[in-house]
Point group: C2
Chain length 345, copies 2
């Protein structure tokens, strides 16, 4: 198989993935019989490229890192918009890695819809499409006979979606409990050692974990998007982040955190999904956990999810201190699973 | 697909699996298009049955539970030995669930070899075949174009082998650390609360976790077999339980356990596999763990494994308080994956 790729978004994750892909070119051919070529790279404001004959990904990477833009690559530069590029590039697989507006799930959802509609398979690490429009997008993919994968949306490259889909056959997820937001976990840990919330947020910023504006994390929106994504895919919840019963950590003071530590407990921002009658109820809220809790030792930038199942009891997956490399691996693993499925046809 | 099964061993796990299979008969047909029939049930000393037309599994279960034996089932009773039944029953899948002699891996290894050699796929929860003879058996399976699965050998039904094989594509396991033996975990926990080792072992017996003779657990043999199995399959170690650098928990006194608790630590029996040059070194030994350790909160009958990987960093899987149902699910999930693979041919 020679897989043609369109990269939509060319930021940190996309460039890490690109470097990784280049470093594995020989391995892919040798171990998987898989070649690839990039036929388009679309960005919002840093230039876009398109070529049926394939682009030189190494040169595009170098240009982007040296000049901050893809302009000047050559005649493959294009003024077409991202939707036009998606419609016209003819790739088999779109790798969607744009920046997310978590309040709406856009533009990622539009990109995914356009690509699936054009008969392309899609890999994304954007929570938006799965958190806001999973049912629509997965049926669109099914009706077009293409694949839609998104392992990197929750817990970076740790396999949660693939685990349930591929390694727990016949098993139904009946509940989910997750420690899914890194910033709040780090901030609550610093506060339990006496830092103020502002100091703790500053530390999270220094470690590159949170954005300049940390409110998406602190107010629980990031965790809400992740539990919505998990509940939609694994429990058929048909929900979205705005429907999550959400509380952030602003109500917790350093005094509260110190007092909990004194009693041998810790605050954690816990995201949950539970079946309740026919519906699935999702929530994000701070909870006190005890040393026997599987999340007790999940600190720093680590994250964890517990799946409650009908046949396999309770299974917890912990990802320890991930880096950008693990997010790139999420994209890579999804690409391999799609390539296998295309190959099997 | 209509899958013909041979059950070799008809003890607790096999009967739990049988009950489960019967309860899912309609589900299997509706959701997977999968029918099944049992053409043989072989036991060492409780009678054996064989019939090309298929046995009445429900009746066999009832007879075994009411009379303790399969004798009296009818003309399907056979005096053939287990190897003769394996050779003659013509099943597509052997479910091997005999009792293991952990010192040698037999007779399970002989059963698996015979079945694969006769062109049958195999599911087992016996550690022996994978801990002692994985390389031989997996190449035999490959050469015969059949499947060999064994999810239940480590951590009951928690997917460890399937996780790596199916949900971490292209990812290499570079190290393993496991809390794999339930008895020692329970015993060390009781000792840290002041119980003597004998009292703690008594408690483990009362909870049905350990055998009458607990030495396989206490001396680290069970953990050694499990880390050998994991290292063989996930790291190509080519090892066996006797080659594991093994220490049990007999050297730990109640005083040691209480003293560790006083310092905020816990003893755990840790099994490890690490690459060292071209070889893989495996060990089982008691270690002191701290509250930040992912195994800190893994207590009672829970178990856990951490996989160190080249691309996905560190991933920990925790199984919480499993029961016999989870072991039966391990067999069921392996059967489903094999049925899918046979279907795809």
């Amino acid at each position: 198989l020679n897989l043609s790729l369109a990269l939509v978004g060319f930021g940190n994750v996309a460039r890490e993935f690109s470097r990784f892909l280049l470093s594995r070119r020989e391995w892919l051919m040798r171990e998987r019989g898989l070649g690839f070529e990039v036929v388009a790279i679309a960005t919002k404001s840093r230039g876009s490229l398109m070529s049926e004959e394939g682009l030189d990904l190494e040169r595009a990477l170098k240009l982007r890192e040296e000049s901050g833009t893809l302009l000047g690559y050559g005649p493959e530069s294009t003024d077409l918009s991202t939707p036009e590029i998606i419609g016209g590039c003819g790739a088999e697989l779109m790798v969607e890695l744009t920046t997310l507006d978590i309040g709406s799930g856009r533009p990622a959802t539009d990109h995914v819809r356009a690509a699936l509609g054009a008969g392309m398979s899609v890999v994304t690490v954007n929570k938006g499409p799965v958190a806001f429009a999973y049912d629509e997008l997965s049926s669109l993919a099914r009706s077009r006979g293409v694949h839609f994968r998104f392992e990197g949306t929750v817990m970076d490259g740790a396999p949660v979606f693939s685990l349930v889909e591929r390694a727990l056959p016949g098993c139904e997820v009946t509940g989910i409990r997750g420690l899914l937001n890194t910033t709040t976990n780090l901030v609550l840990g610093e506060m339990a050692r006496g830092a103020s919330m502002d100091e703790a947020i500053g530390e999270a910023r220094r470690r590159g974990v949170t954005e300049e504006d940390p409110s998406m994390d602190i107010d629980g929106w990031d965790a809400a998007a992740k539990i919505a994504a998990l509940a939609n895919v694994l429990m058929g919840a048909g929900t979205n982040p705005r429907m999550v019963d959400r509380a952030g950590i602003r109500g917790i003071s350093t005094g509260d955190a110190l007092e909990a530590a004194g009693r041998g407990m810790k605050h954690k921002l816990i995201a949950s999904a539970e079946r309740s009658g026919g519906a699935v109820r999702t929530s994000v809220r701070p909870e006190l956990v005890e040393p026997d809790d599987p999340f007790w030792s999940v600190n720093g930038t680590s994250s964890a999810v517990t799946l409650k199942t009908d046949l396999m009891g309770e299974l917890t997956i912990v990802e320890r201190n991930p880096t950008l490399a693990q997010t790139a691996y999420a994209v890579f693993s999804d690409m391999l699973l799609i390539a296998d499925a295309l190959d099997a046809k």
